[in-house]
């Protein structure tokens, strides 16, 4: 026991004497969390906001309906969403060719007349081909405008005809008597409209549902707490892997053989190595989480539970890489295979992108990664639950790996 603790102490001390690599692997998840978090930080309402969409507007109609449509972009919510520039068709086309806007909305010639005549017409949306999302938003907005204008044109069909013919006449040629029936008709429709619009006859309320055992994004959602567990576990794997690879280095330079001349047994040595890797992981992970709390205001939830999750996850990492190093012949092989394994874990386990964003056909792979259990465990704790499943899966598989590591490493070190 004393010999084991001496090795553990020596291992940790050695690491702390040259901490640059460890510090670097601790900085990486923090830096990545900062960048991703700041880019996708949701606004006060908890919704991730898009930057203003650059929209070019071409008015080839110049009529009343076009003026109404352009006026719609002056509404506060729409103004926040779109950054509109009114241009002529040639300039618009030129700017779109240069990719200077997300989309261009063209109001066709005779738009107002066609609406008044109840003739079909079409708004044209020119989309920036290099952009993936914003042109689609502009298209859907145009679609909603189209429905609105179709509806208004049908509701006020008669009135629009009068306005259309009146606009072609001189003011002196129009009498109030001629206008009165149409004004009365419009009044009746506006009253009818009011009864449907105030309050709005039909409204929609959206809510997010979850599968059993899952929770929806809570209010006061902190995006950093959503990103950081994934990043942390990915780089924790790198740190523990580098630590456990020392076994290969010491085998290669004969250090282990020399140690075996002492009364130390291979069992003690392997136990010490596994404990050192485990302890190092717990230290680094706890420190990174504390820094995360300070820098990003992350609330990790019930701290003893989080600590337990960290302890179990780090044990899993140490046991897993201990086992892998028992099967690798040398440090080159360990270096060549360990990083790919970590990155595959990260890709499928939810470190690189949220699990729900991973294509359905690949999601089942997450169950085989420590990343998934750590991330879902953190989320459960943040939401006030206890991640029993994460604890059980990681503890059981960790113990199995530790057992295999113990047996296989003893055989490896004795050869």
């Amino acid at each position: 026991m004393r010999r084991t603790s001496l090795i553990i102490r020596n291992d940790i001390r050695r690491r702390l004497k040259a901490p640059m690599a460890t510090i670097l692997f601790m900085i990486i998840p923090l830096a990545m969390t900062a960048v991703i978090g700041m880019i996708f930080d949701p606004g006060a309402g908890g919704e991730t906001t898009l930057p203003p969409i650059k929209l070019l507007l071409v008015d080839q109609d110049k009529g009343l309906a076009a003026k109404f449509l352009i006026g719609a972009f002056d509404q506060k919510e729409v103004k926040d969403m779109f950054q509109v520039t009114l241009v002529d068709a040639a300039t618009g086309e030129k700017l779109m060719k240069k990719g200077k806007a997300s989309a261009m909305l063209v109001i066709p010639a005779h738009f107002s007349d066609d609406l008044a005549d109840q003739k079909p017409t079409a708004l044209e949306v020119v989309k920036n081909p290099s952009e993936e999302f914003l042109p689609g938003v502009a298209e859907e907005f145009a679609g909603t405008m189209a429905v609105g204008f179709s509806a208004i044109a049908q509701v006020f069909a008669d009135e629009l005809k009068v306005i259309q013919s009146a606009s072609k006449l001189e003011l002196k040629d129009i009498t109030i008597a001629q206008m009165t029936p149409f004004l009365e008709m419009a009044r009746v429709k506006i009253i009818a409209l009011q009864s449907y619009l105030s309050p709005l006859l039909l409204q929609m309320k959206a809510s997010t549902t979850v599968k059993p055992g899952q929770t929806a994004q809570p209010k006061g959602f902190n995006i950093f707490s959503y990103i950081m567990p994934g990043m942390l576990i990915m780089f924790l794997l790198f740190i523990v892997e580098a630590f456990m690879r020392e076994i290969q280095n010491e085998r290669a330079d004969g250090k282990i053989r020399r140690m075996m001349f002492s009364p130390l047994s291979t069992r003690e040595l392997i136990t010490a190595r596994l404990f050192s890797g485990w302890l190092m992981g717990v230290l680094v992970c706890s420190l990174a989480m504390a820094v995360g709390s300070l820098l990003f205001g992350i609330d990790w939830g019930n701290l003893p539970l989080v600590f337990l999750l960290v302890v179990i996850s780090c044990f899993w990492c140490a046991a897993f890489f201990g086992m892998l190093n028992a099967f690798f012949k040398n440090k080159n092989q360990a270096g060549a295979f360990a990083s790919p394994i970590i990155l595959v874990f990260a890709a499928f386990g939810g470190s690189m992108l949220p699990l729900e964003q991973i294509p359905q056909g690949m999601r089942w792979l997450a169950r085989f990664t420590v990343n998934n259990w750590f991330i879902t465990g953190c989320r459960t704790i943040v939401d006030g639950g206890v991640p029993y499943l994460s604890f059980i899966v990681l503890s059981v598989s960790g113990l199995v790996f530790a057992g295999v590591a113990m047996v296989a490493l003893q055989r490896r070190l004795s050869t």
Partner: protein
């Protein structure tokens, strides 16, 4: 020149012989392409904004409203009882018709599964709003004084008078780009950075430590030839990585490259910058772990800021400006200009100039710190 080629080619050969070569060069980038490409294509089961409608209505209006929901781009499934699984579900309550006939306001509930595609969800919400607008328009047309029982016989149906047509700018591409067309250039740029920095950096450090560099100088090769050879080796690594990904992209995902020569030139110029940076990293750092750490951090930061991970248009303007410090930003911009806008050399030469500027700075640093011995 022969010696430079010999040193460079040998470096490439050693890289290819590495056990993890296949994984780093092809398998891992392919995993990335598949995940992100499918992500931007939308989930296969959720591409057309699927919407489940739970129609609990006792009257005719529920079915009539569902009819209004039918539109291109939305996939409707009507259910009488709540299904176990759905992406998003609109609930039409039992008293829907009663309330409509009384002209009383009501709120429909849209339940969205947290796992569902957000983009498809937004489309579904817009289509529901449009259907509501259509129904309200018909009710207004019908008037608020008439008997609602006679609505279905005497109504004036809503017509789509205004349609929306979409197109791409004239003189650019003619086919709407796929998710893979957007994703592959980003992944290519990221993996060229990762590969060249990690492999290139570590091999410079190891060659120095094992005195391989010093031994090369015992031959007839000069310092300049040794440096140029090492630089060439890293450029070849980047080009090989790019060639593999482009071939895979063409073969499996019908990747559109635009002007192949300009795309190739872009990759070459970008690789020059990364090759110089990798020599610098390998020259100043003495431990493999540190090189891996610095390279991973640098490559990921450059990739994130440069628009390799997500469409740059959704990034806040301040970060977009900050992204210009990343060589990846300039390379990605060339890809966009060439692939999506069909631009020529006259449009992208400033980007090449900036990338060559990066190369010059990294090269100066590499030359300053490059050592043949510890």
């Amino acid at each position: 020149m022969k010696k430079i080629w010999h040193i460079g080619f040998l470096d490439l050969k050693l890289t290819v012989k590495d056990k993890a070569f296949f994984f780093w060069m092809l398998a891992f980038p392919m995993v990335f392409i598949l995940i992100f490409g499918n992500l931007f294509q939308g989930s296969k089961t959720d591409t057309k904004a699927s919407l489940t409608v739970l129609n609990q209505d006792q009257g005719k209006w529920g079915a009539y409203f569902i009819d209004k929901l039918k539109a291109p781009g939305i996939e409707l499934t009507v259910e009488a009882s709540e299904p176990k699984e759905y992406f998003r579900m609109l609930v039409i309550p039992p008293d829907f018709s009663t309330k409509i006939e009384k002209r009383a306001a009501q709120t429909l509930e849209l339940k969205k599964n947290s796992d569902a595609n957000m983009q498809a969800g937004a489309v579904a919400e817009i289509k529901i709003t449009q259907a509501m607008a259509k129904l309200i328009a018909e009710l207004v047309l019908y008037g608020n004084q008439r008997d609602m029982q006679a609505f279905f016989e005497t109504r004036s149906p809503y017509r789509d008078l205004v349609l929306v047509k979409t197109r791409l700018p004239e003189g650019t591409i003619t086919k709407v780009p796929s998710g893979f067309d957007h994703v592959i250039p980003g992944i290519l740029v990221q993996f060229v950075m990762m590969m060249v920095l990690v492999y290139g950096g570590i091999s410079v450090m190891e060659d120095r430590k094992r005195r391989v560099l010093a031994r090369i100088l015992y031959s007839s090769a000069s310092f300049a030839e040794l440096f140029a050879g090492k630089f060439l080796g890293r450029v070849l690594m980047g080009l090989l990585q790019s060639a593999i990904l482009i071939a895979a992209g063409k073969l499996f995902f019908h990747l559109n490259l635009g002007n192949v020569w300009l795309t190739g030139l872009n990759i070459l110029v970008f690789t020059l910058a990364m090759a110089a940076l990798s020599i610098f990293v390998g020259s100043v750092l003495r431990k493999e772990e540190l090189i891996v750490g610095v390279s991973v951090l640098t490559a990921n930061m450059f990739a994130a800021l440069g628009g390799c991970w997500w469409p740059i248009e959704i990034v806040p303007p301040a970060f977009r400006t900050l992204g210009m410090v990343s060589p990846a930003y300039w390379a990605m911009d060339v890809f966009h200009q060439v692939i999506f806008f069909g631009k020529g050399f006259d449009a992208v030469w400033p980007n090449f100039l900036v990338l060559l500027g990066f190369t010059a700075v990294f090269m100066a640093l590499a030359l300053r710190f490059f050592k043949v011995e510890e």
